[in-house]
């Protein structure tokens, strides 16, 4: 597992370094994910150790959002009287985004599939 953790942390470190060096507006871990993906593509396969570490971490991904989530308590006062309007806005926007994105993707997938079968 130590090899897996080392690889993940190393990719994150490289990501953070690149972000700071070039002033990119994205978080270091996202660049790190990209770097690891490119490394896996280059190498052509994952390792048992990396699989074990990644699957273990991702199994509890939801738990890792709890500390940041508790942080909304700090903003309660700042949101003040507009919380209901904000809640409605965020909820409605989430529903619209989910449905429009889901439909777009599924429609394009079906179109692509029928193009393939039409060509056969």
């Amino acid at each position: 597992m130590l090899n897996g953790i080392a690889l993940l942390l190393f990719c994150q470190l490289c990501g953070e370094a690149l972000v700071r060096l070039f002033g990119w507006p994205v978080p270091g871990p996202v660049i790190g994910m990209l770097l690891l993906f490119l490394w896996l593509r280059y190498r052509g396969r994952s390792s048992h150790d990396l699989d074990l570490t990644a699957d273990g971490l991702l199994k509890y991904l939801a738990l890792l959002f709890v500390p940041a989530g508790v942080g909304v308590m700090v903003y309660f006062d700042a949101l003040g009287g507009t919380w209901l309007k904000l809640g409605v806005t965020l909820l409605a926007s989430a529903v619209i985004t989910l449905v429009v994105t889901g439909w777009t993707m599924q429609w394009l997938l079906r179109r692509q599939k029928s193009e393939y079968t039409d060509g056969l």
Binding site: I5, L8, L9, C11, Q12, P25, P27, G28, P29, V30, L35, L36, F37, L40, S46, L50, D51, T53, A54, L57, L58, K59, L61, A62, L63, L64, F65, V66, P67, A68, G69, V70, G71, V72, M73, V74, Y75, A78, L79, K85, L86, T89, L90, L91, S93, A94, V95, I96, T97, L98, V99, V100, T101, G102, W103, T104, M105, Q106, L108, L109
Partner: protein, 239 residues
């Protein structure tokens, strides 16, 4: 008196809130499964509410709490990097459907930002709040950075990001099912682009393919939003 000094020790030690966060989450997870997976009892949402109540009751500041909980928070970095592994496993599928993925992502990013701004405008929210709403579909550090560039309030945006993530995790799978979105990769893309990391975590619970595509959607949405939103807002005369 003994309890007092014991509490003073505990409250000052990072171990207490770290352990409690994990225990609360495990209990919330058990409750979720026992209830037959009622969406509203989402373990992340229940844990956050329970911990806020505990902090308010014990008059503990968020900073004191975070001194312990930061050890879990830290793992978000390596966990984000680890999303490359399930994505790599889906390489063959990704290569076959890169075009639908790219188009859906661009659509999702724009709809996510502009639906919030339009609805908020219709409800009469002020301009600064509307700008702070726009980047709410991407992961917190990116969202706060964009909010600042656009002239919003980054702290407000952070709260919107958290709320959006939890909302997406709670209602996402049900909404998509009701809308007839059955393809696992489409479910993943929609969850990741709407509700970033929290949505990705939920998508993994539904299906490994959904999880892999949600992770991809979350990462690429961060890039796309950072690239697209400032110029589009400027073009529309918002800045």
């Amino acid at each position: 008196m003994v309890f007092d000094s014991f509490w003073v020790y505990l409250a000052a030690s990072p171990l207490w809130w770290l352990t409690l966060t994990i225990l609360v989450y495990l209990a919330a997870q058990k409750l979720f499964l026992k209830s037959g997976s009622i969406a509203l009892l989402n373990p992340v949402a229940v844990s956050i509410v329970a911990l806020i109540v505990l902090l308010e009751l014990s008059r503990t500041s968020y900073d004191a709490y975070f001194a312990g909980a930061q050890f879990l928070h830290f793992l978000l970095g390596p966990a984000t990097v680890a999303l490359a592994v399930p994505l790599f496993r889906q390489m063959a599928r990704l290569r076959a459907i890169w075009f639908p993925v790219t188009v859906s992502l661009a659509v999702g990013v724009l709809v996510g930002a502009f639906s919030a701004v339009a609805i908020g405008y219709a409800l009469g929210l002020d301009r600064e709040t509307l700008i702070s709403l726009a980047p709410k579909s991407v992961t917190t550090p990116v969202a706060m950075g964009i909010s600042e560039v656009l002239g919003g309030i980054p702290a407000m945006t952070a709260a919107f990001v958290v709320f959006t993530g939890i909302t997406g995790a709670v209602i996402g799978l049900r909404i998509l099912k009701a809308a007839g979105v059955t393809d696992e990769s489409a479910v993943g893309i929609a969850m990741g682009v709407t509700a970033h990391g929290v949505g990705t975590a939920r998508a993994f619970e539904a299906h490994p393919v959904s999880g892999a595509f949600a992770g991809l959607a979350m990462a690429l949405a961060a890039f796309l939003t950072a690239l697209l939103l400032p110029p589009v807002f400027e073009w529309m005369g918002w800045l």
